[in-house]
Symmetry: C2
Subunit: 205 residues, 2 copies
Amino acid sequence: MTQSGHQRMGKVGISGSSDSTFTTDGHPQPPSKRNISMSLSMYQASVPAFVQMLNNLSAILDKAEAHAESHEIDPEVLVNYRLAPDMLPLVRQIQIASDVAKGAAARLAGVEVPTYDDTEKSFDDLRARIAKTVSFVQSFKPDEIDGSEDRDINLTIREHKMSFKGQPYLVHFVMPNFYFHCATAYDILRHCGVELVKRDFIGTV
Amino acid sequence: MTQSGHQRMGKVGISGSSDSTFTTDGHPQPPSKRNISMSLSMYQASVPAFVQMLNNLSAILDKAEAHAESHEIDPEVLVNYRLAPDMLPLVRQIQIASDVAKGAAARLAGVEVPTYDDTEKSFDDLRARIAKTVSFVQSFKPDEIDGSEDRDINLTIREHKMSFKGQPYLVHFVMPNFYFHCATAYDILRHCGVELVKRDFIGTV
């Protein structure tokens, strides 16, 4: 029994915390192929997670488009579908997921957040928006984002000013927001009958 | 312009990466009250995020129960509501969010994962399940989970065996899964007309 009373299961080797050996040119390998001898860092907890989920979202949109075609549904109906009249439609869920990801990478790195026009109308447009977001977040090198735990982050959302330090911003604001909009996009499409399973959301880990 | 071409906005002070100064007796302060001069770590990226979201989920269930009462809806209808006939109902979304959180804390710390009977039938039962999960994950000290980046994690989900290192397990499997079930619980209730806004999901950061 450990001090806090948990029953420990045999010894499992844990290497000591070492500096990140994850050197990327901005095109990280899928997690399974990565050299994972590293320490968790602000970069590791954000950019690779965004990239994986955004790519999964793009593949989910492929399935949604195929479903619309095979069921003779106007694709715009799905793009504009909402789970409730006062909830945001699919198109906004994707735009906001993109905004959260690009905003987080930029703010943690201390660079300007790019503005994207929210003009997407089709599945193609949405996939292009996602691809642009993936390229943007992948353009950061780990050392541009690592060490941002104590960085002052200020943002304004619909006239509501918010201030954070980098770490609570990432852990308690960015990640729940990002996944909220990704999961709601998935839920809208599942509710519409698109053949998706949770593996489409999680992807290959 | 930095090497990767981002326009940097003035200098923002970032303290160097320092060891975590977050000493907790297992009852972390809300993020806004925490001493946030720390480095992101496996503990910091998991337990406080679980605690915050699970507590938000409990408050969301309070609102759902009040909605059922004021609209003369049998609470069991909400507890068993699904967004699609082949999606899991609210009760399972909450149980799985709980399973993901307790499983992650235990596996990263290398202790046995506690089994909870999935017998919840009411809002009270679900809040008790959440409270039990919060207590369990809060029972870990940071140093029991920190340094688990390279720990071997093996799990079996419906006869499907999965193996991870600790860091990709947390970043690419646990967090998206956890938030997926929390967001789907929220989406089910919003779809049913419960008066919720995203702030109920994100909480006070």
